[in-house]
Symmetry: C5
Subunit: 361 residues, 5 copies
Amino acid sequence: MPRFLKKRSHKAGLPPGTIVPSESAGTRDDVKVFVMDYNEAQFQERETEKVEECFPYKDSDTVTWINVDGIHDVDVLQKLGTHFGMHPLSLEDVASTGQRPKLEDFESYLLIILNMIDYDSVKGEITSEQISIVVTNGSVISFQERRGDVFEGIRERIRTAKGRIRKMGSDYLAYALLDSIVDNYFVVLEKLGEKIEAMEDKVVSDPSPKVLQEIHHLKGETLFLRKSVWPLRELTSNLERTESSLIKESTSAYLRDLYGHTIQVMETIDTFREIIGGMRDTYLSSISNRMNEVMKVLTIIATIFIPITFVAGIYGMNFSSEASPWNMPELGWRYGYVGALAVMAAIAIGMLVYFRKKQWL
Amino acid sequence: MPRFLKKRSHKAGLPPGTIVPSESAGTRDDVKVFVMDYNEAQFQERETEKVEECFPYKDSDTVTWINVDGIHDVDVLQKLGTHFGMHPLSLEDVASTGQRPKLEDFESYLLIILNMIDYDSVKGEITSEQISIVVTNGSVISFQERRGDVFEGIRERIRTAKGRIRKMGSDYLAYALLDSIVDNYFVVLEKLGEKIEAMEDKVVSDPSPKVLQEIHHLKGETLFLRKSVWPLRELTSNLERTESSLIKESTSAYLRDLYGHTIQVMETIDTFREIIGGMRDTYLSSISNRMNEVMKVLTIIATIFIPITFVAGIYGMNFSSEASPWNMPELGWRYGYVGALAVMAAIAIGMLVYFRKKQWL
Amino acid sequence: MPRFLKKRSHKAGLPPGTIVPSESAGTRDDVKVFVMDYNEAQFQERETEKVEECFPYKDSDTVTWINVDGIHDVDVLQKLGTHFGMHPLSLEDVASTGQRPKLEDFESYLLIILNMIDYDSVKGEITSEQISIVVTNGSVISFQERRGDVFEGIRERIRTAKGRIRKMGSDYLAYALLDSIVDNYFVVLEKLGEKIEAMEDKVVSDPSPKVLQEIHHLKGETLFLRKSVWPLRELTSNLERTESSLIKESTSAYLRDLYGHTIQVMETIDTFREIIGGMRDTYLSSISNRMNEVMKVLTIIATIFIPITFVAGIYGMNFSSEASPWNMPELGWRYGYVGALAVMAAIAIGMLVYFRKKQWL
Amino acid sequence: MPRFLKKRSHKAGLPPGTIVPSESAGTRDDVKVFVMDYNEAQFQERETEKVEECFPYKDSDTVTWINVDGIHDVDVLQKLGTHFGMHPLSLEDVASTGQRPKLEDFESYLLIILNMIDYDSVKGEITSEQISIVVTNGSVISFQERRGDVFEGIRERIRTAKGRIRKMGSDYLAYALLDSIVDNYFVVLEKLGEKIEAMEDKVVSDPSPKVLQEIHHLKGETLFLRKSVWPLRELTSNLERTESSLIKESTSAYLRDLYGHTIQVMETIDTFREIIGGMRDTYLSSISNRMNEVMKVLTIIATIFIPITFVAGIYGMNFSSEASPWNMPELGWRYGYVGALAVMAAIAIGMLVYFRKKQWL
Amino acid sequence: MPRFLKKRSHKAGLPPGTIVPSESAGTRDDVKVFVMDYNEAQFQERETEKVEECFPYKDSDTVTWINVDGIHDVDVLQKLGTHFGMHPLSLEDVASTGQRPKLEDFESYLLIILNMIDYDSVKGEITSEQISIVVTNGSVISFQERRGDVFEGIRERIRTAKGRIRKMGSDYLAYALLDSIVDNYFVVLEKLGEKIEAMEDKVVSDPSPKVLQEIHHLKGETLFLRKSVWPLRELTSNLERTESSLIKESTSAYLRDLYGHTIQVMETIDTFREIIGGMRDTYLSSISNRMNEVMKVLTIIATIFIPITFVAGIYGMNFSSEASPWNMPELGWRYGYVGALAVMAAIAIGMLVYFRKKQWL
């Protein structure tokens, strides 16, 4: 579970507000900056060469969405931060991964940091990427660790003017981004749910140590998710109740809805935890049942043979019947051998009857 | 436990407020719309062909109850929503199942979403249906996933003007609907309670692995109920303390009563959980007791025979008494054989006495 | 534990406020109504034939205590309720058993519902009876499920004008009733405590399955008590902090004291739960210790004899010493037999020494 | 653990405010009343014959500390209570032991009830004594169950005018008493801590059932302490935040400090609980490890001998080689016996190699 | 785990406010006092011979940081305390180790007490040192138990005027100290995380009792950390929300950030606890699996040989075929011996087939 131990960008000893890009912050390809600028009437979209190209949009009446893929270019962050009036601590937070999801209100802008998760079906693991959203009056800047996100639907809605997104402001755009991210939690939860269901059968039908390891893996994934979502709940709750003037009245119903979804994600995760905990118990009692069954049948077999082997031992003794007629006269009887066999059979059957009566068989 | 993993209507990527009827939202028969319209003096009841037929009732002085069975016809929802001034997000919530119970106050109306549960005695499972109640000034609209509900008593009381329902407004009607639903939780809890009581005897008398599976099933049902009721408690608490002008002063005592009932449901479920947890412990220690008993008796039998089989083995040795008088002289003794048997009996009896003294028998 | 599953008076489908007497609500003998009327100077006590006889007391300056034994006569409840101006929901609550303890403030009166518990030393079970107390200005009406209560001391104090009860109002009387009930919880807790102490010795000295059942029984009793007391704590806390004009300033110190006692009951119950949980652990480890001891001693015995039985087996083989001098020459040795016995003894003693060294003996 | 079940002074049925001295409230020797009276300039100390002797001090300008050893003389309590204007419920609380620690504000005085604990190194048990402190303007009255306390240091400081106690008022004196009591909790915790440390080694080196009993004893002591300290935390927190005019501004920093110490006591107890819980786990897994080791070695020995005993059994059979050359020709071979022994040795060694390879040895 | 039981400086019986240096409070070398004095323009740094040398800095306009290494010289503490107007209780807190982390607001100064932790890689243990920070208007005094700290980076930033520290006031300096300490928690957590990861593999590959001990050790370290950090969370939360005029508006964003980091430390520790708890479970089920495997294979071997040894026993009996043709005729058959061996082989193979079918092999 090395993911829990993810290194924070090391900053001990550095002055606060120093931008230290995370070592794991994306590959070394260039940082990409995409701009979408729109209002109800018009729409424009471009990938900029230089980050300065997107500065003019700041003061337009339109809503501007600047999306930055890659947070390891200190220069880009610095320029953007300066132009949009961001606090040095905000830039430091954006640049360093492994942050706790949070909402901070800097009056002129809101900083939202959270994790965008996805399910890597090849590794069978949940992957997580830190995303920072800066909401100003008229602009939204989103910083992603690397390319690839869950916002394609939003881009399409902006392009095609579908839904009400083109009629709303930057706060609605920020909500739409958050909503996409939370919706994707449901997608991941469904995948996890399918794995859990599949595991539930295995636990009863084939309780091997490998199954226990898979249960532990599932538990780890759930723990990981929970750690991500727990502060997210706080974040959305704060966002709903924020008194920032950046969030308009008309958006609050949507934010309340978002909060409800986050609660639902949380509750589903807790249900998963309970189910996985139950599976572990089922596994252990399956294992223990099997072992008990093995021990019981085997011990019964052993116990039947021990007394009759003793009888055979008796008549294997070499007491001399010549020395005394008291010595092992059975050996000379006509039906001695048959009788001995009969006695053995009687003992064995008696044992079996006794075990059956005690319901051990 | 696939019910926990119930698919939400998939909406990732769609704009918020889009009505996406749940795939599992009822069979494909027509959506039915029933209208009851009443005040203290008069009463009218009809099933409408077209949803538009119930629009005129909106502005009458009477209380109007519109009940919609089936939420998969987007057209019906859209028309009703538009006519009664509902927010797009509300319609989306009504249409998509798997919602978390909630109360939302949209000033001109209250939206209440909760689960109506029932006990399917054939499958031995608790079934759940999402029901959405919209309370406006003078009207109540209830949306059910499918036909069949727990409101027949209310309809009868409206028809026969029994109780005070005909004298009260739409808020009392909404309360009556909620009260019926919560009352049905008690009915389901009683059924569950009977199953738990029956199981309690089985656990002691016949602790088979099947019993453990049934305990797990009961635990799952309780978990499922708890997940439904937990937000219901919040809902009724909010309803009791709401400052909405739609809820009149005279109804608040009833709502406080409703809240009390929800708490009682919650506490009964928690008691069930404790009892079921205790049964699991009892089961495990019954199993372990039985196994211990088996092992103990069998081991004792084995242990008695091992030493005496050894004695028999001694006298089965072939040392030649001809070679030396030191070799196995017992074999030639007059009472050698009888003596050997006596020694064996003495060992066996000594063992039994020892075990008895140690209270292992 | 059927008591947990106590049936609520079935009301699903009936209009709220309908009085449905509980089926188990006392035997069918007549409902008894006792009246005590007093102030500092005078005192009167009577058993009424008809409930109407106690109506005149309502408007007197004296404090009136009307005690109703039996809540299954709807007529009596209805008349009292109407005369004292009770809300229909209050009457429904009084009549139906299985209610959650609660305090409701209806401005003109307070309704207090709680459980009066007692210890049935014959069945060894805690019994519970619902008691409803209505406090108005100048009157207290108490409804009991059946005859027999813990109020005899209060009646005696009223009759003999002992203490300050005759000088105080109806709120103090209500406090006195509650105080008697909570005091009786201590009596029951002491009985339960004695049983727990007795059990603690048994668990160590004689850990039989019957003991485990008794532990489970005690656990059930504690769970039952806890379920009763938990809402009682809330009730007394609310009563202490109530702003109702029915509770005078002078009574508040007493109510604070009452609240303290309820907390103490709660904490004692929680301590009992911890002790009982510990006893279960002690039981399980006693059982496991005994089993381990059995297995250990028996296995050691078996293990000593297995190698020496093997030696005996060796010399029971029939290799022909005639065919070859290499075949079992020991059989012809002068001290062969004695030597073989000596070898066996050496092995056995060696084993014992080894076990002793390993501290397995 | 009979201490948990300590009898409250039985009062069920008696009017509230009746002083019922606890049966266990000290021996029957006379109740002692000591008075210390001081201000910055002067100091006086005496043991009174009659309780009335300390009444004059009440109205002096000096601070008066009246310490009452023994609470079983109703007369003394009554007189003191009347003279200092105490509420009857306060006197009842002072007289009856087994009270829950609490702070009550009666405007003209504060009543503080708490437990003074000590460690009885003979019995190895924590002892507890109820102490009630009444703080009025200018006086402190402390009631102890019996002689012997932790206040000697305070008396010395008053006598020698060391520290600031002689310069401060009655509230500081009350604080000093509470501080002494809480400080003694640390002393007891250190003794308990030493026992826990000693036990930690024993659990690994010598896990006998006696050790388990000692662990249970320690757990009981910790539970007992926790039950005492939990309400103490509440008490000191309330005292710190009290708005009573009896507590001066200058004392509040001291009370905050006191509260901090109580929290620290609480946290240390919780840490002890965790450590003791961990020791129990260590004990159980030590026991289980030992048992497993026993079983493993013994079973291995048995398993090696079982196959080779079988081989010996084969050659102990009496098939007649005269009847047929096919019958047991090995018996007549030159190296038959040696060969048989070699086969047995080979089997035994093979087994050992297999076990070693499987890491069972 | 003796660190949990760390002795508080013993003060029972002493007047509050007495400075009692902890016995373990550093070695007996001289207490060192370092002063740094700076503003944006100038900077001065010196180690003082006498504590009085740093008094003049108090009233300068510059920010003064007085760092005291060693808290066992009562004289130094007294002088500093008097000069900077500290309350006697504050000095007592600074001098006595084993304090609970806390923030106290004395209007003219803030007292912050917390633990600076470090990882001693030689002992493999987390070490802890109490550090007290006094923040006045224009000065920060830090008291450490001994030399060596995590503040070197801050000193360097002050010297080189790097970052904004030289431009800010004493509140920012205090923040910087706290930030360094909290940052070092992350460093220690990473070391702990590495040990946990290493342990996770060991638990599966080599579950020896030593591993269990190491798990317990890790659990103890985590418990220790948690006990340190829990009150730290409260401290930083209070600091963030403090209304003290000593904390300027401009520093509050930094304090919010600090609080966020503390929460993150807390959550990482809780995750570690869950992982360690899971490792313990994995260890126990690994052990149990191994034992089950041993028992199973060995029991199977035993069980196969028991019946065939019985067969060998049968033909070792000495019934006389001369006395009767019914006696053991098999002994004289041509293929008697071969047949007997065949029967034994058949039994053994049958057993193996049965076990394989039951999936016990």
